[in-house]
Subunit: 344 residues, 2 copies
Amino acid sequence: MKTKLIALLLIATTFCTYGQNESELKKIENEILRNPLPSWNAGATKTSILEFVKKTTKKGSPDYVAVEDRIACFDNDGTLWAEQPFYSQLFFALDQVKLMAPQHPEWKTTQPFQAVLEGDMKTVLAGGEKAVFEIVAATHSGMDTDTFNKSVKTWIATAKHPKFDKLYTQMIYTPMVELLKYLRANGYKTFIVSGGGVDFMRPWTEETYGIPPYQVVGSSVKVAYDTISKPKLMKQPAINFIDDKAGKPVGIYQFIGKKPIFTVGNSDGDYEMMQWTNTATTPHFAMFIHHTDAVREWAYDRDSKIGHLSVGLDNAKKYGFVIMDMKNDWLQVFPFQTAEKPKK
Amino acid sequence: MKTKLIALLLIATTFCTYGQNESELKKIENEILRNPLPSWNAGATKTSILEFVKKTTKKGSPDYVAVEDRIACFDNDGTLWAEQPFYSQLFFALDQVKLMAPQHPEWKTTQPFQAVLEGDMKTVLAGGEKAVFEIVAATHSGMDTDTFNKSVKTWIATAKHPKFDKLYTQMIYTPMVELLKYLRANGYKTFIVSGGGVDFMRPWTEETYGIPPYQVVGSSVKVAYDTISKPKLMKQPAINFIDDKAGKPVGIYQFIGKKPIFTVGNSDGDYEMMQWTNTATTPHFAMFIHHTDAVREWAYDRDSKIGHLSVGLDNAKKYGFVIMDMKNDWLQVFPFQTAEKPKK
């Protein structure tokens, strides 16, 4: 049964992306609806999700929400995939510095690039936000958008996570991918609303999460249209939009144009998005992923720089935010781990 | 037969929006595919559209394009609906000035507002872009986004076009609505990419064109998240993005994140969008609507301030842009006009 489901889900990824066989797709959808969220343990969290989706999609329910208003927004780092020990985009930037170094001989003696090239992360991090910004700016601008997209695609297909030695597209949370599919099978449109770079996410979100580029909202640099030779868009070393904290409701409004009724995040950077979801006049659902699993993933919240979560926890009761407990609510975390009852 | 088709298309609008009956939807889709673009006259333009769609969607065709890459972008003013004698959004702004006047007694003696209130369009227009900008700024900022959306919805449901005395949602081009549906029935995703205000379009594009808010790209003012009382987004009197000329490829990249392979516009403001489409490595199609019909609509191009088209015409052959001739290529223009063979 479990094997059959996994096989169906694997097929689902293919068919959802390429829409090749409608009756197969229908079969998969029915299987998702018959046995929803198989990697979630039974309990209050799973029940709250299932009940919310049921009441908003059941014809005649007083809480019924029309299909066009079923908007679901998900943070990415720490919500759909892992964000420890650093954001994956930083690992990408560090690898790009190494790749680009031959064209920048000056980096051998200029910080923070020298430290990156020497693999000295301690010095890189000692440089704080300024150092990180310099690394990101150098690796995320000055090229045309097609070239950048290609470099992301190459990296995501080959680079591996330092702790788990798995591709970054394997560092996704199986229960969250199930949740995305379950929502879509119920007529929800799924969006990513992330502080991460939109240009870094779009090349792989469709294949990995079934979320197409135009449903991905993120931070961005400015681009300029350049027709000197062949028309192209050049990435500029200037910030266009920061999709974090109060920027999240702004980004949702400007890019999606509808208020979400279902939102999942994991850090205080998602707090305003949750707050915004709570102003919906229709039923709404907002959930924080609480990283509580030091064995299968990482355990962190109030004391972590990455994925810092404290305002969200303090206000959860007041605003009715659901706190998802990774250790207890998930039967499985990553696709490469075996599903097992969590150790209590 | 024609009557049956119209009835089916009317049903299609309902079902496409609310997704309530899949077998009905399938029937409508089959009818669209069986008799595509009924309001287009037979000829080179119609043939070029049908052949392009056929070759990009037929399995095994050397020009086959995967579903996820079938991105179609449409300008709005002058492409999906009429833009003469002025952009509809300007009529909206003028009406808003009248509605807001009681809260602004100073407008009685301040230009350009005084002229608007006195119905003196000559003086308004003599004020040029500065006057128009002042009117738009006064009516499109200073309120929260929900309030603005409501005012658009009220206006679009009641205001009428000065020449035709029809609702603005009736000032849409029947052949273009057919084209949107035909493309969607062939797996294309349809987007609006307009110089018009995105906040002005989104409240009605889903019902009118079947294009949801998150597939509408347009110009915008900045919004600020305000939590002083209930969380809300306040529209600021500051430009966020101008989605015109070189801004169109930039907007497409930032909001859609994919290159379109099918683009329709009608003015030089769409030229860069066409040029950008032409850089696609897959087959691509770019078409200008040429307003040649002084009887059923308006005839204008090189000498018009609104919908100015000259660079597009000059470069059409060089770049392979299709020039659609409204007078000869369309059997019907607006939904309230009878379909008839155009007078030659």
